[in-house]
Symmetry: C3
Amino acid sequence: MAASGSRRSFDGHGSVSNSEEWRDVTDVGVQTDARVQGLAPRLSKVNLFTLLSLWMELFPKKEQEHRRKDATADSGLVVVQECKVLGLHCSSVQLHAGQVAVVKHGPRLKGCDLYFSRKPCSTCLKMLINAGVNRISYWPSDAEISLLSTDNADSRHQDAILDATAAERLKSNSRIHICVLLQSLGSNMLQFVDETSQNCEFLEKIAADNLDVADVFKQERLNNLSDFSGRFLVEDEEQHRYVLNKMGLENFCVEPNFGNLRQHMKDLIKILASVAAGVPVLQRGYGFFTRDLQVLGSSALPQDVVRHCIIQARLLACRTEDPKVGVGAVIWAEGKQSQCDGTGRLYLVGCGYNAYPVGAGYAEYPQLDHRQEERQNRKYRYILHAEQNALTFRSTEIKDEENTMMFVTKCPCDECIPLISCAGIKQIYTTDLNSGKVRHDISYLRFNKLSGVQKFIWQQKCSDFEEQAAPQISTTLHQRSDNVEVLSVRGRQNHPE
Amino acid sequence: MAASGSRRSFDGHGSVSNSEEWRDVTDVGVQTDARVQGLAPRLSKVNLFTLLSLWMELFPKKEQEHRRKDATADSGLVVVQECKVLGLHCSSVQLHAGQVAVVKHGPRLKGCDLYFSRKPCSTCLKMLINAGVNRISYWPSDAEISLLSTDNADSRHQDAILDATAAERLKSNSRIHICVLLQSLGSNMLQFVDETSQNCEFLEKIAADNLDVADVFKQERLNNLSDFSGRFLVEDEEQHRYVLNKMGLENFCVEPNFGNLRQHMKDLIKILASVAAGVPVLQRGYGFFTRDLQVLGSSALPQDVVRHCIIQARLLACRTEDPKVGVGAVIWAEGKQSQCDGTGRLYLVGCGYNAYPVGAGYAEYPQLDHRQEERQNRKYRYILHAEQNALTFRSTEIKDEENTMMFVTKCPCDECIPLISCAGIKQIYTTDLNSGKVRHDISYLRFNKLSGVQKFIWQQKCSDFEEQAAPQISTTLHQRSDNVEVLSVRGRQNHPE
Amino acid sequence: MAASGSRRSFDGHGSVSNSEEWRDVTDVGVQTDARVQGLAPRLSKVNLFTLLSLWMELFPKKEQEHRRKDATADSGLVVVQECKVLGLHCSSVQLHAGQVAVVKHGPRLKGCDLYFSRKPCSTCLKMLINAGVNRISYWPSDAEISLLSTDNADSRHQDAILDATAAERLKSNSRIHICVLLQSLGSNMLQFVDETSQNCEFLEKIAADNLDVADVFKQERLNNLSDFSGRFLVEDEEQHRYVLNKMGLENFCVEPNFGNLRQHMKDLIKILASVAAGVPVLQRGYGFFTRDLQVLGSSALPQDVVRHCIIQARLLACRTEDPKVGVGAVIWAEGKQSQCDGTGRLYLVGCGYNAYPVGAGYAEYPQLDHRQEERQNRKYRYILHAEQNALTFRSTEIKDEENTMMFVTKCPCDECIPLISCAGIKQIYTTDLNSGKVRHDISYLRFNKLSGVQKFIWQQKCSDFEEQAAPQISTTLHQRSDNVEVLSVRGRQNHPE
């Protein structure tokens, strides 16, 4: 039992294994089986997928989507096939996240790993087991069918207990690994994510407008922490132990397991809070707006959905292999099918982060950028860009008749622009900080000239935009009008809404 | 060599192996690798696919489809990939069933098992061998290119002999298993299928209208037996031996093999006759009709095609693991491609029956329904519904722009309704006996409220329907006007056509 | 070190292995794992794919497609998955051939073998390595980013050197086999290809019009040799050695390796020159024209593109297993996607040649055609036709809404016609020499009656065609106006353009 900084993991069997045993799980990249271990800490695969599942639970929904008839809580789900993200889902009014996966992927679920933000109900479990999934990991807070209740004699509570019992019986009679899979963070991971989030290009853009970014970030991060903890942690420890017990996780209830578990959960929530704070909620009129006068048929997404997807990309960037800059990219498309996923008509096409080629060992490739005297030792000839990985490892074809959108945390460079354009991407949501420049052998000259792709740039909304691109804001997760008030004084005058 | 009740199988090598050796073949489910052995007998996988291939040969066709130029007989074909039905086909005017499989599935045929209702011709065989199929099983009656002839000097007969010789040479030079794969039925299987067919919901509905169902069933079953025997058995034993000899099945011609073979063939024909009798041919105006006034663009299928698909579902139900109720579901879609399959524009999407989760062992899950005191020991939390299996193990995506239809032998319950609706099913063909009720913890309340899906319910046609849903009846297989006469006296007055 | 007639191969590690070690590579067919070794020599798989990659570099492009901004040379690419051609590509204005493969195939590239007509640049290499390809083979002439330069101090040349260095570093740090994979030809291969090309049906048709075909062929072949050598060989041996050195192929620069390498390259170029001469460049108004008055919406391809595809089919025919007649077939479709491949909207669907069923051993099947007394020993019952292989092993579905075209070197027989028609082929480009006849048990009676498929037949253009089918001729590869002048005297009068 090492100190809290060591790498450790918990699974549903209650065992605590140290980092050596989990190396194969930990160090395999989303797209790249790379074993490069740079100076900067990286998010492990398991933690990345767990964070994405939590974040998917918070996918912004329209008002009516929240009016569920039964007591089932929303949950988020990440479907992973051979280290590739096949789908990002969340519950809808009609279907649980697990059912969404069955309807959307059907036979493709065979052999997949699933990451849930809540333990799924027994009906979802039986279908997923039968579909032949490889592993089901879930966040060890309250279950999808809530086990927390004020009234123990409540019939809903009795149903929840029966459901939890059925889930355990399904687990014991199947060969599928149904477990809690959390890993502790590297010793300096929290600090690293805080710093990179505060220095990310979205906040840098706000800083250029003479705002105190440190303040904005700190406040946003605090708000997030409070929101996320309320949602993803059972505050009362006794209640948490009760829930764990009912879910068959008795071994997590004893110390030091219980304390470690809660510490890991809190650490991951902190990461999520920091990463999300890098793209603050519509501060002072900031958002993703286009200057393209001719909106090519396909209209812009609501700002809260765009922000959600950009933060997915920022989470992916935490798993970069680049010692200096992490970049993440996510591709979503808008299908014509009727709604069943909590994401509406949106479905994931692919995602990626920047990394060295698959199979690269530690320091096999140059990691330098600056020294002009060593032109052949610069990383840019070897590193795969996030956009390239997202396109290469797409989980589905890009269809010409659909609106396919790329969300990327950095302006695409000249190497990626023709790929993005030829692959049939219709919209890009990004920043333009480097646009028009050449930095360290990488040029960003083509982005401005790119035609046929709509560009939505993170910027302050000015009155010019209001006509051609007035994205509707659906119900956002957070009710924090006070905070928005304070920061929007100047912004408000520009766009009175 | 056990008595006739024991499980036994024949293959093309003439060997007779007992049930132990065939366990791996016998006990693997269509979707579920379950080894549950309840009290009720089950149809083995091999027998199920064989029966489906025979039934596909009888797929109703339009008049001109029967005018073939050459002497090739129609045949039915079931394509199975990893225990999943990939396609149900039959010969068309232009293509043999084997050619249909090549055109429709191409490279997907690799590793598939094929079940033919007749030994395919050598041209089909060479293409299927080359496509890399795993196994070709065929029904040991007359071949696709008929070997039965009144005139031995007939040039057509000489061609058939040359073709059979070529087929044997292809078999001996390939590594593919080309065989006769029949399995004897469990001791009480015939009786069990007779009982469940007579008590199925389609006849129950007729019973509710005060008809003597036992009589209807008995008469229908007798008609079927006569029809099917004429088609699938070579009546004359000497002729049968001649055909077997020409097909390279000499070892089947000696006793006790020959007698056993014919017995197994007769038993399977009896099963088919009973199952088909559960949905009698348009008796007294019974059929699948909708009450939906607004027919949503896609019109109803002809009644004989609907009946054919419902009986596919009923065959699947004979492989249920549920000790009490067998349910089968089949999903077909109507493509836009031009015709090449004998099924016209219809193609299979998926099929399933109710079963315990994959990997479940005998009695690992509760099988009770009734006793209210043991709420946590009821099967409904564990059993997979036929509709869920058909959706999960679909062989192709459901396309929004096509009419996709589910045929299910029982009214879908509230657990399945949202899945069916969200998966994009456009039409359901079923009974509504349980609709609006709650039975043994399973509720059927949502079916009536389901919107966006057209419901075609097994019922007596009344004059209300005639305007909005007057399905055309294509040439049915059977010419049994006499029987229809007797039973349609009252029906006729309702719908004079 | 055997004499030049022996089978030998070179790979990127500089080793020369003899035929025994390469048997597994050499003798595996495109579709058929057949080990039949008839009397006629066959092109090995590796040489076939290499020739197809060279030929793809010459895919006819529109004028503007040649105006590249950077110094990158066009290259051709063949993507092979499990011995099946998945794609035929070439560089476009926007993308290198390697990038085209990433955009078009994405995750499907995993495990594929790639054959390039030039060593790809390091940017393409890093993406292909990361995509998980199995092997990259390239033609050992000048690289995609040219290493040949008049001025050594040229910055472009310096960039090319840096790129070559990066490519070698990527090779040494990945587990992918990046190599030069050429195989020497069988002793009589060159002669055999010369003879079959001169006797092919396209020239036979010209001969029927009383032209001296031997002369036409000889002249065309000489022109081709001169064109192809200029493009695919570095004339100056010192320059060639310099290029090989810069690409990390030092071991190829010493004798006897260097001499052998150049000999193999020249032999393959000779094969390509002969095969292409079988369908001479628009001689005397010859081309592929239709008599169908109603052009069904989809218009004809430009003649130079048709010729390019027909020659692909003729290259495939060089790998036939039929001891008498080689047939090749290629299927292309015209997609709706915007351009990114150098082939424009055209993409490969499948290709094949005639062969015995997969797994057939030497002489297991009859190879006779003529003797009427042995009707059961004729090959036609066993041989798979090129069209059947192209359809069976297609790499993608045939879409009803797209124009899908088959290019085949011989008139399709009655066995293939219904398959072609039912598979959804919209256009056939072929010869009609056998149409309406019956030859050696194979009848070609249905071709003329085939409706719903447009037939473009190799023939002299007459004035009748000019209205309904006036295909545009895009910029052809060769500037050989002189030659065309001489041969087009009569043709010109027929079609003055």
